[in-house]
Amino acid sequence: MGQDNFAPQKRSSTGGGGGLPTIRNEAGAGGRDRGFPSMPRGRQMHKTFNNIKITILCGFVTILVLRGTIGVGNLGSSEAEAINQNLIEETNRILAEIRSDSDPTDPDESPETELNPNVTYTLGPKITDWDQQRKVWLSKNPEFPNFVNGKARILLVTGSPPNPCDNAIGDHYLLKAIKNKIDYCRLHGIEIVYNMAHLDKELAGYWAKLPLIRRLMLSHPELEWIWWMDSDAFFTDMVFEIPLYKYEKYNLVIHGYPDLLFEQKSWIALNTGSFLFRNCQWSLDLLDAWAPMGPKGPIREEAGRILTANLKGRPAFEADDQSALIYLLLSQKDQWMDKVFIENQYYLHGYWAGLVDRYEEMMEKYHPGLGDERWPFVTHFVGCKPCGSYGDYSVERCLRSMQRAFNFADNQVLKLYGFRHRGLLGPNIKRIRNETAIPLEIVDQLDIRRSVHGKTESKS
């Protein structure tokens, strides 16, 4: 009987317990009209709630206070990690200093003067008789001919900024790219100039190649051709030799498509990532005509607007050397085009996206020496920008592709030594030919250099 008495209380109290969990006035404790036996129950629930609230609040405050004094970060960390952290901070400080563009002490530095837009920028004093001067020099210096072993003397010019890249991967691929160029040039008797200086502060960035090319032409009269190549271009056909005989009547050899240039006026009709300039007066004149859109600041910005307006597909940004050259050749077609050879029979510049996935197929079906879409001469990683922070493509895709191109080319070099890479991505190599006590038979077969012979003489 006693139990029956309590049962209704229980039920009503659960109903009352679900009431508002707020702090209520004791006077109003009996907010709901319940029987007296149910009141303590409801109040007990409220009391419990209040206690829980207080507990939570106290716990929160304790944690805050403890954090302030002891700190959460010290839970579980050892001294070694603290030393690591110090070292990392120290190194980061040094790296930041190295990466910064600031020079330590320049007390004599005059403030940089703004280029006067009314004065036309020039690359240097005007020379009008370079062909004559060069001829004279060559005749006086027969031991430095412009043709060696029947081949015209070529200088490959490339470069990168003097500061470290924004990230370490960029420098690593610059290193691989220069090794790749060293290999090709050693096999083909070409000298390399790697430029890391801004010779002209007005023409910085992609324009820096102009003063550099001019300076090198004038300092090396024995050079017949100067070959500019971007730092993000890799040689992928180590056997292919540029067919210079095709260009005897031309002074500029550049990869592109005539219909894109003349009909569509596209801003990517030509590519200035890999081109050849003959060392002659015509080239000096072209460089002088090319340079005016380059000086940085308002000139370059304004020129950028003109180029975007006149060339198809060009986004809006400051003037770049490629668009400027296209615009120049289009607007002064009659003056220049007869000496310009637009080459597309082989990949003097090969846009990477269509090539890198087919390397395995190429290795199966074709052989080096073709230079065209079957075995591309140059694979150029336009848009990847590994030296910066952000490229136009996914980083993974770019780096995989660059590594594949590098290995693809390196395999051709290692073949002479009896090795090749284990796959196109990995760094390790494996032997493909047993060693022998008579190595020279194989050297005769495999040495890439032995395809070109000839005599030494000067040709004007």
């Binding site: 890391m196 010779l199 004038l218 006590a437």
Partner: protein, 459 residues
């Protein structure tokens, strides 16, 4: 509960007080928290810092597992959340982990026979004869490109994997450009190696199988010049005195008494040396190699070397100590063809040289190659590509910059520019362009030295 002890009236008073206290405490806490969120409270920090710290703590935990001391720490200002796979579809090079991508696609199926003694390759005993026959059959590839000028191949290299130090690759790049410049001026070809030819001879021993392979594949090369990747040319005008070595097959920087009498482990340096292509070189490599194979052999050999050589610390066998030991113990066999050169710095220890560059510029001129204007400045112990060297990072990197600029200045001056200072990356013009560049005689003479002249064929 308390009410039972004290009485109902008291109890109610206490409850009231308690409730007021609760309210007070609660408001106080709220005030503190809000103030902290806005102003901050010294070492208590702000909630944003808390969040950042906690995030960094977890992120650091994840990275610390790779045991790298020097690594790029994400700047906290970046707005990328900590993704579990930072490689996926990002256009930001800073987020990328390259080592995940560079993976061998084929497995290593070469089997190493542990009982077979190590050898660099099949024994060749008539290399001189093979080579001279080849040279006769191939007159277009002579081993001498001038009367006193042998064909030289400079061999250097580095690891195919990115450096552990974030700026290591940049310094390798600069060092390579430096070598390209010297070699272009002196008619020397370069072979830059990025492949490990023999896994057993890894580390400093990797040069031995490489040198052997290159000698055998390039019979027209008369001298192979090995140069470490941390050595830079600092005298662009100095030409090696080849006639001095016409009877020698191996030229290293060092001192006879330190090697043969004292057996000092740094009595010579194998970071930069010349080796003539011939049977003698192959035999020397075969005699040099046995201490190299990694593992037990190298460790045991290391102990022998530490015991036998003066001042050598305890570590595994390295190629330099092994060379000292070889020469000191087998002098009669090798000594007469080894020239230990110290008249110029074929290898120049950087610690003694880098602080004096300004003095050198004032007092002397390029072309001397010795203590007055060193040919090579070799940054032994700096290890810019690795984790930790023997010297403080800052000193090493700054001095490498200075040495690079010291050498680069000499090239730029030929073209009419100079570095603004040894610490600067900027250049300035020192010579204006001319309308008659041919007549700027000094310039053209430096660029067209006699030893680069081509033999004109008499037809």
């Amino acid at each position: 509960m308390i009410g039972k002890c004290l009485g109902a009236q008291r109890c109610r008073k206490i409850h009231r007080t308690l409730r007021r206290c609760k309210v007070t405490v609660f408001c106080f806490v709220l005030t503190v928290v809000v103030l902290r969120g806005t102003i901050g409270a010294g070492k208590f920090g702000t909630p944003e810092q808390d969040f950042v710290e906690i995030r960094d703590h977890f992120y650091f935990r994840r990275r610390a597992g790779t045991h790298r001391v020097l690594e790029e720490v994400q700047t906290t200002s970046s707005d990328n959340e900590v993704a579990s796979d930072t490689n996926a579809e990002t256009n930001n090079y800073n987020d990328f982990e390259l080592n995940k991508v560079l993976v061998d696609e084929e497995s290593d199926d070469s089997k190493l026979d542990p009982d077979k003694p190590y050898s660099l390759g099949p024994k060749i005993s008539d290399w001189d004869k093979q080579r001279s026959e080849w040279l006769k059959e191939n007159p277009d590839y002579p081993n001498f490109i001038g009367p006193n000028k042998p064909r030289v191949l400079l061999v250097t290299g580095s690891s195919p994997k990115p450096c552990e130090n974030p700026v290591g690759d940049h310094y390798l790049l600069k060092s390579t450009k430096n070598k390209i410049d010297y070699c272009r001026l002196h008619g020397i070809e370069i072979f830059y190696n990025m492949a490990l030819l023999d896994a057993e001879m890894a580390g400093f021993w990797a040069k031995l199988p490489l040198i052997r392979t290159v000698l055998l594949s390039h019979p027209d090369v008369e001298f192979l010049w090995w140069m470490d990747s941390d050595a830079m040319f600092t005298d662009m005008a100095f030409e090696i005195p080849w006639e001095r070595y016409k009877d020698s097959n191996l030229v290293m920087h060092g001192w006879n008494e330190r090697v043969y009498d004292q057996k000092n482990w740094i009595g010579l340096n194998t970071g930069s040396f010349l080796l003539r292509n011939g049977q003698w070189a192959l035999d020397l490599l075969d005699a040099w190699a046995p201490m190299g194979p990694k593992g037990k052999i190298r460790d045991e050999a290391g102990k022998v070397l530490t015991r036998e050589l003066k001042n050598r610390p305890v570590f595994e066998a390295d190629d330099q100590s092994a060379m000292v030991y070889l020469l000191a113990t087998q002098r009669e066999q090798w000594g007469d063809k080894v020239y230990l050169e110290h008249a110029y710095y074929l290898h120049g220890y950087w610690g003694l040289l880098v602080d004096r560059y300004e003095v050198m510029i004032e007092t002397y001129h390029p072309g001397l190659g010795d203590h007055r204007w060193p040919l090579v400045t070799h940054f032994v112990g700096c290890k810019p590509c690795g984790k930790l060297g023997n010297y403080p990072v800052e000193r090493c990197l700054k001095q490498m910059d200075r040495a690079f600029n010291f050498g680069d200045n000499q090239i730029l001056q030929i073209y009419g520019f100079t570095q603004k200072s040894l610490a600067s990356r900027r250049v300035k013009k020192v010579r204006n362009g001319s309308r008659n560049p041919i007549e700027v005689k000094d310039v053209l003479r430096s660029l067209h030295p006699a030893f680069k002249a081509v033999k004109v064929s008499s037809s």
